[in-house]
Symmetry: C2
């Protein structure tokens, strides 16, 4: 299929300013460089860029008008939530508009009978569960950044969290999205049923990293809070023993609410920070949460304890109340900032690997750590094989930055080589665009490209992210003065 090449008309910044100013109140339009600074990167600070304008609409109608205006003028638009992404997926385009949705933050409806929440995209992940709590309900996906990250960003990233092993990713907890197309048309994707008629547009939008449209309303499923949840903490004297124990739990037919692993460096950093009582001498730590009815959880605690013991657990502890459960999780949930205290900067990688490869992969990472002379702590969503190595470096030392980036690339290539993937939950963004070629063949990449073009034929929506545009790489590069990150 032939598609329209990328042909942005040269834009008059004056005309664009005038049009945006007619749509947005003055405090919702940011042009000055210093005022733009807080928006120059997402949580992956390796990549920075400022846009021509930052538009921060307060209503969906304003967002729609911004898109219509940009479409008419051929101006690139980059949508942004809270900027907590880790792959530069929301990094601005220097000739475009950064469209921030964080001000659209109203909870439109909580329906305790249908068990749904209807939300504007800027509502934070945690705010949904807080609003649902009075009905005994909650929203299951819980990314580490849940205090700050928005539901619109969760949809764009198909976010998970420590409970996604049992309760699924955003895509499994989503009912409907109101989306603006790049042309500024408002469309409704999904609905109340398990499966809507026609193609599953909602699923293709979920995790599409702002490449296909801009979310302006989200309807999610709410779940009843489990009657009880308890955490089992176990230390092991090797990563491979812990890895085998994880496999044995899954093989026993138990699906824990969460099943997390930390290596020695990560657990020591977490313990220094959170004082959760983790066994400092362990080489690997497992945290296994069981939730459900009283009877079910008691039965599962017994089964998992027996499995951990049989696989050589050197220590075992079960939370006896909610306070202890929170404390045991606190170490894990603060692992990133805890590692952050050990080093001026850290680079959080995100790959998935088959569970039985965990020993091999961690050994390789240890070898690479020596090669690049950079420390690394490993946090692992062990149940679903999602590994987060945290590479420690100093951004003030350009040589360390280069080594950290190359270390990251090596980890992604290693993930693919062992049958895994270059991202588990953080997305492709700008960071992993080149690795899409490691992950997929040309035929698959052409399909991605065709879908992108079906939604956005002029390629003005979050250009240069998520999907390598094969056919257009050369055309792009030939355009004078174009920024072609990662293409």
């Amino acid at each position: 299929m032939t598609t329209t090449p990328h042909t942005l008309a040269p834009v008059s910044a004056d005309l664009l300013r005038q049009r945006l100013a007619s749509i947005l109140p003055a405090h919702c339009l940011i042009e000055e460089t210093e005022a733009q600074r807080p928006y120059e990167c997402d949580a992956l600070s390796l990549y920075r860029e400022l846009p021509l304008f930052i538009a921060l609409p307060e209503t969906a109608d304003q967002a729609q008008a911004v898109l219509q205006c940009c479409h008419e003028l051929g101006v690139p638009v980059v949508p942004r939530g809270a900027g907590t992404g880790l792959t530069a997926g929301a990094m601005a385009h220097p000739e475009g508009v950064l469209l921030g949705l964080a001000k659209l933050n109203r909870i439109l409806d909580i329906d305790p009978v249908a068990r749904t929440a209807r939300l504007e995209p800027g509502v934070t992940n945690l705010a949904i569960s807080e609003a649902a709590a009075e009905h005994g309900l909650y929203y299951a996906p819980d990314p580490s950044s849940q205090i700050a990250c928005t539901i619109g960003g969760n949809v764009a990233a198909n976010s998970g969290g420590v409970h996604c092993l049992k309760y699924g990713l955003t895509t499994h907890n989503l009912l409907a999205v109101e989306m603006l197309t790049v042309e500024g048309e408002r469309v409704t994707l999904g609905g109340d049923g398990l499966d809507g008629p026609g193609l599953d547009m909602l699923a293709i939008i979920t995790g599409s990293e702002g490449l296909l449209g801009v979310t302006v309303e989200v309807t999610v499923k709410l779940l009843p809070r489990p009657e009880i949840a308890r955490v089992l903490l176990a230390g092991f004297d090797s990563v491979s023993a812990a890895g085998d124990a994880v496999g044995a739990v899954i093989a026993a037919g138990i699906i824990p609410g969460g099943l997390e692993m930390m290596d020695a460096l990560a657990l020591q950093a977490a313990e220094d920070f959170a004082r959760a009582g983790y066994p400092r001498d362990a080489q690997a730590l497992l945290l296994c949460e069981l939730d459900g009815t009283e009877e079910e959880v008691a039965q599962h605690i017994d089964e998992v304890s027996a499995i951990f013991t049989a696989h050589g657990a050197t220590s075992l502890r079960v939370s006896e109340d909610e306070a202890e459960r929170s404390l045991l999780w606190k170490g894990r949930k603060s692992a990133f900032p805890a590692v952050g205290r050990m080093s001026p900067d850290y680079y959080c990688m995100d790959g998935t690997i088959p569970r039985h490869q965990v020993s091999h992969v961690l050994e390789e990472i240890s070898r690479l750590s020596k090669k690049y002379d950079l420390r690394v702590a490993n946090v692992f969503h062990a149940g679903d094989g999602n590994l987060h190595p945290l590479i420690m470096y100093d951004a003030a030392d350009p040589a360390q930055v280069t080594r950290a980036e190359q270390f990251g690339v090596d980890i992604l290539e290693l993930s693919v080589a062992v049958g895994g993937a270059i991202t588990g939950e953080h997305g492709v963004g700008l960071e992993k665009l080149n690795q899409m070629h490691d992950q997929y063949g040309e035929s698959e990449l052409h399909l991605f490209e065709d879908i992108k073009a079906a939604f956005d034929p002029q390629l003005t929506l979050n250009p240069g992210k998520g999907v390598p545009i094969l056919k257009r790489c050369q055309e792009y590069r030939a355009l004078p003065g174009k920024h072609n990150h990662g293409c």
Copy 2:
């Protein structure tokens, strides 16, 4: 976005025959009308058509060569599994090739550790669970036609079953698909992880009714068999009382393995057929299956019994062993053939409605039954709001056929009017193409159309099904001698 118009070159049947004969053994190519008869319709016998050729490849390579040949010659291709569909989605194109995948029926791998099954598309749904049984595993989605329907067809239809309330549809139990594009390129969609990098191509393929590609290999998740499952059977003296009881179960935070309702006519037909011991005097019957650990099921049986009693259950029975559980399900699972014995023909509709609308919708259907002078029995996947009215008619009487079709259209429009959908699990196919305009606005339909064109720009893959091609309707109709069913 502009797309290529539908421009099939006039095909020489001789050339096509010659090319197909060079690809397929003689017994895999069917041209004679009488030999083609078994393929003239799917399970919706209202629509019938014969193709130029039926191709029944025995290998994925042969299927690939057939697609490449048809693409080169501009010949329409309609993929088909076991032909158990209910919306004429696999009805042949009179100028095309019907590509039957049923001979690709090898189970390629069962991995009890990873809990996956890798399958050719012609493996039947039930055969997967049979093959997995020795490992204590099974494949969860269980459409009523599971003895006959194929996993490739399940992917195309995003099939559900009585257990999908708890265990999800095909899309929730699928890991990867090997697909042939309309050009005959082989692509891999999905993988082992919860979420692959890039756009969720696997989800857009699932339920795409053969419009986007042809499945030649499927990898599904297997689940451990629940420790125990028990069925609770309850009679009610009104449909609304039963409907309220369903809502109360869900509101109590219990997700049953299955939750089914039958109205008086359906339950009497089922009892006549299966002798399951259903209460003949009830106006509505609920079947609620609870599965899990012994303790969990015992607790839930108590809770659901109390809820049913509080909502006026006139009878209550709990299965005491596997034999009794099978017997109680036997009536429900044979409801369709049981109704079939009461009438020369029946027309199975498939709409979803909000659960609280069930009384209103069943009253309306009762009114329409009088209006069209056709009996109707109602079977309802009550937990997820998926209603199956079975309209009884005599296909030998053209006036009854017309009335049955109009009755069906009225039910679909009623479903949309109460906030539901025109299909719960049977798909759009040919039958519901016009109702897509009731369900969606122009903007949404344009997106569907653009996605279809991204995969199949010449519109030769299962043309005239699933997605109304708005921009091309007029061009289609202007082409001399074109068959434009439902466009």
